[in-house]
Symmetry: C3
């Protein structure tokens, strides 16, 4: 039976997203089964770029939705962001080394069949509906997360 | 034998506290044994609201104690806190959906018999004594944490 | 066979570094095998103090290198740092209790033979070479990390 890893992606930071996605892709390349459970700010990694509509949202949800990052490349750094300058620098340093971007790793995760789940309660609180998220993302409960985590050899909260 | 989860609650963020407490409550409802080990800022989740005295504290401890949040509802967001506006908005959005608060989940954890432990060294550094913490919280060492974590199927650092 | 713990040290915060190093040292004292994998900001914990040269660095790397902390004692707090005042206060409170510093724990980790690894991709992006890191730190890939984590009883992302 394949080894298995479960990542609870809570953070909405560019650098932590990158870390989580690199680990997920690498594990999958090693023939491990991988699940990423996106909760809270982690949901910002899997927003559907083709659906940023504010339909059916309460006024708080509308303000909130207009303020949050629109996707993985739009996330701030967890440190030294300096209003975006630090992140710009990091991105230039990554380009210099031809390092793949979070978008590449996210696409890689989808292509490789990494299981992607969104936390139901987080979606409800933040006002995200199925169509606000990438197609491959399934909405599941905290209980579903725990069942998957229990079957995993590695569990990380990022 | 029951499955077991151990959460090391390091963060003193409102959103991360909520995540940790939701996972702990859900796991317990699934008949898992659950331990939460509160360390550093995590201790702010379990301050005793009936004992905010500054007796027997050094001057640094007094300043420190006066500056830190008084309990779980008083914690800031890890992101988009905007001097409290972001958090107020999140709380309104949670109320809109009748989502339980961290206080509800903390009380749930106590009622359900989730094991709650405080890190001895963190207590010493921050000047917290047994009576400064909620009744159900036991003070234990890092070694005790590791023993419990080794017996757990899931370990998370939040 | 010894029990085993693997810590992925992602954060470059003074308090989180302290937490990770205390856990690592305590686990090793309990005869567990311990590996710390330093990635991204975690690399700041293991910078070689005798080699802060900017030779062979691109201009982005030079600016970046000049801005980041020079070692574990130089790291900011994850919370209440207040431009260093919060950290100064925490350090005074630690001194009051004769609590060991991160430097002590880092030296302890080296003396005890805790395995210390740096993430290859993080080193490349940030422009760190072998000689920029402490002698005991080996540069390995994400795949090597996952192999080690799979053999571990406890895995934490800090």
């Amino acid at each position: 039976m394949n080894k298995k890893m479960n990542i609870l992606m809570f953070s909405g930071d560019y650098d932590k997203a990158l870390a989580g996605l690199i680990l997920a892709n690498t594990a999958k390349e090693m023939d491990m089964d991988v699940t990423i459970f996106f909760a809270f700010w982690g949901l910002l990694l899997v927003r559907n770029p083709n659906n940023m509509s504010e339909e059916d949202k309460t006024s708080y949800e509308k303000i909130f939705t207009s303020m949050i990052p629109k996707g993985v490349e739009d996330l701030p750094l967890s440190k030294m962001n300096f209003a975006g300058i630090g992140k710009k620098m990091l991105k230039e340093m990554m380009e210099d080394k031809d390092a793949p971007t979070p978008t590449d790793f996210l696409q890689g995760a989808i292509n490789k069949g990494i299981k992607m789940q969104a936390c139901k309660l987080s979606c409800e609180i933040m006002g995200f509906k199925k169509e606000d998220l990438l197609d491959n993302v399934e909405i599941v409960t905290a209980k579903d997360y725990l069942k998957d985590a229990l079957k995993s050899n590695i569990q990380l909260f990022i």
